[in-house]
Each structure stands twice: as structure tokens, then as C-alpha cells.
Point group: C2
Chain length 214, copies 2
Amino acid sequence: MIKISETTVIRLTTYLKYLRQLEEKGIELLSSKDIAEGVGIPAHNVRKDLAFFGEFGTRGVGYNTKSLISSISKILGVNKKWNVVLVGAGKVGAALVTYDIFKKRGFNIVAVFDSDTTKIGKTIGDMTIMPLEEIPGIVSKYDVKIGIMAVPLTHAQGIANLFIENNIEGILNFAPTFLKVPKSIYVQNADFTALLESITFKHTNREMLNFKFI
Amino acid sequence: MIKISETTVIRLTTYLKYLRQLEEKGIELLSSKDIAEGVGIPAHNVRKDLAFFGEFGTRGVGYNTKSLISSISKILGVNKKWNVVLVGAGKVGAALVTYDIFKKRGFNIVAVFDSDTTKIGKTIGDMTIMPLEEIPGIVSKYDVKIGIMAVPLTHAQGIANLFIENNIEGILNFAPTFLKVPKSIYVQNADFTALLESITFKHTNREMLNFKFI
DNA sequence: TAGATTGTTAATCGATTAACAATC
DNA sequence: TAGATTGTTAATCGATTAACAATC
């Protein structure tokens, strides 16, 4: 049983993001030092992270961009497409539906749901808003494993429960609350305010403190 | 020179978020164990994080909710209001302008800018979209220290440069790229795709691996 | 007082860093 | 071959955990 820390996983997504940019620029070969400088993580850390999963480079030469992208994509499980559902057709939901990057990265929003009956049937982006009752059918039809929720705080736990009942295994949560879920369910909280507070912390304490950045 | 890790800061924002929920429920007194159970972080870790900054509880008793909220708010620098500017009046920008939680938490978006001249003068939420040329005036008038950018990848570095020229010290970046900034500038990247990839990683590797969660 | 819970010190664990052998 | 760069082992550092003294 290999142990991989959450920080390693986040760093892998970071490398992948940077590699895709280099690929678009037409760079075919690179070193761990190139990655290091691009993303602000030490080169030996980059190599160590990759070493958990295998050997992906050539000693004395470096990494082939395309092949490393493909390797990291496989590690992260994003070499294949993922169907996802979205609950919450508010402003954040609207932004997510039209968020091109999801589709570009293989995350395909197959349906949008809302509990507000006045919204049912209206469109958001190119999707028609559906009632929550349709979740089971859609999840099973499209083999959905990931649910995104952009709902008010008060609705969040209920939607999480609904997701779990329908065998959703991962939740991207935009509601600023803590979902109670079984350990087998992976929750990621997208909390913009926490990010801003982290900035104000550094600003407020910059004279007193020394920081380590991820 | 005290050293505080980024994980400690993020945990502090987490405690604060949970404490506010408990406060709304009318809970006046709580223990580190209560926080621990609410946010999924061990009680001794909660106490250790707080201990970096002082003594906030009463031995044998626990913490007063309101007073702990006030203490952590001070640590994070969110006991006061922050004026912020937003660049990018697209879908993500529109979601952020109407994102009540920012205002509720003391982050006040004072102006919205866009480089697209066809958008200038139009409204987004209750804000009028302004041209980039107005950034210096607004930043100085409202003593803005934080800039949020929700712009396409290709514009991101240019906007970051503009922020830095205008003495912005912290950037919340929604563009999926790495900004080159001086060390004194704090950048937080809000990358939804990275969060989804972290979920797919866990799903893909769940049989082989053991995880530590933040 | 006895029970509870904090704040802190000490022990453990894990992650990062340094160094280098392997090898193109 | 000499130079470069990976992958890996070993050393260091820091964060987490455990334990407990302080104290309400």
C-alpha cells in the first residue's frame, strides 16, 4: 500500500497544467528544472513526486513533453473523459456550465439540476435545467461518478445525501460548509473566501512571519 | 521570526468558517473536540494551530464562540473590511460580483474592469464595467490591496503586471496559469479543474493507495 | 474536590532536501 | 568521452501526534 500525500496530488495537477501550456508552445523536450522554474517547486521535488509512480524520463536527457503529459494524465485518471452532473443553476452554476476548461480537460457536464421549480425547463448555457427527481436516471444513464454542487449553504447537505444515494463518489462543493459524508466519498471544497483570507493573513502578518508556500 | 505553514493558515480559515456556522446556531461555548468533529481535523491539531498565536481558551472549560471568532479573524486580518477590484466581466466575473459571501465576510468589490471595450459601461450585478485605464484611480481612491482576476489565460500575465504596477499586493487568480510575480506579491490560484483532477486521482487509485487528507 | 479541557513539551512520523550513482 | 539530467538513497527538517502538566 503506497502512501501518496494530498500535496503530491495537487502538485501533479500543477505540473500537468504547466506541461499543457508548454506543449501548446511547441516545446517537445524539457527537464525537471524547466518544470521547477515554471511552477515554483524545486526540481528534486518534481522528480520525487513522479518517482512514486514510475520512471517517465530519460537520464541525461529529460522528459518528452507529450509523453509526460500522457503519463501524468493516466496517474490522475484524466486520460479518459468523466461525465459530471451539476446541482444549482444560480450564478456560480451558470459560470461552471459555460466554463470551457472543464470540457477541454475531459469533464463533461451532462445535466444541470435545481430544486427551484420555477427554474425547471429554463436553459443555462446550452443545458435545460432539470428537477432533482431526474438525478437517478441521468447518473445511471451517463455513468456519472462526480457531482458538482453550487447551492446555498442550507441545501448543501441534502444535495450531498442525494448524491451519495445515487452512488456519486466524488463531490466538488462550492457551498461554504462541511459536508458530512462517508469516508469512501471524496469531497473537495472550492472556497474562494478561504483563499482571500489566506491572502489577508499574509498581508496582515508579513512583518512578523516567515512563510512556506505550497 | 515565527514560521507558520500554509496548511495551518488554511486550517485557520476552516475553523473560522465552522465557528461562524456554530455561532449562527447559537452555540456560545465549545471545545477543541467540537471543532475537530465538525471539520475533520484532530483536536490537538486545532489547539496547536491556535497556540502559535496565543491563548484563546479557558482550561477545563473550552472556547467562547464569539471570542474565538474574533481572535481568529484578527489573526487572519479579516476583522476589518477589505476593498478589492475585479478584472474580467465574463461568466466567472458575474458570479463573483453577485457572490454574497464575499461581502458578508468583509470583502467588498469596489469596481469591475474589462479590457473588452464593447463591455465598458454595461452593468454586471449592480456594478458598471470600467476600462483598465481606471484601475490606478480606483485602487488609490479605495486603498485596494487585493485584485481578483477572472480573465482568459492569454490576458492573465498582463493583468497581473497591471496589478503589480498599481501596488496590489495579493492576487486571487481564476485563470488556469502561473503568474510570474515578485516574491512580495501573494498569489492564490483558484483552479476548479485541479480539484476535479484530485477527485479523479483518488477514484482511479483507490485500490492501490492510502491517502492522507488535508 | 473531581472532572474536564486547554496549552505545551516531547516523541514520532513523514515530507522535503541534499547528494550522488546511474545512464543517456 | 564529457556533460547533463534522471531516479534513488540517505540526511534533514518540520509537521503531526501523543502525553501530560496546568488550571478552570
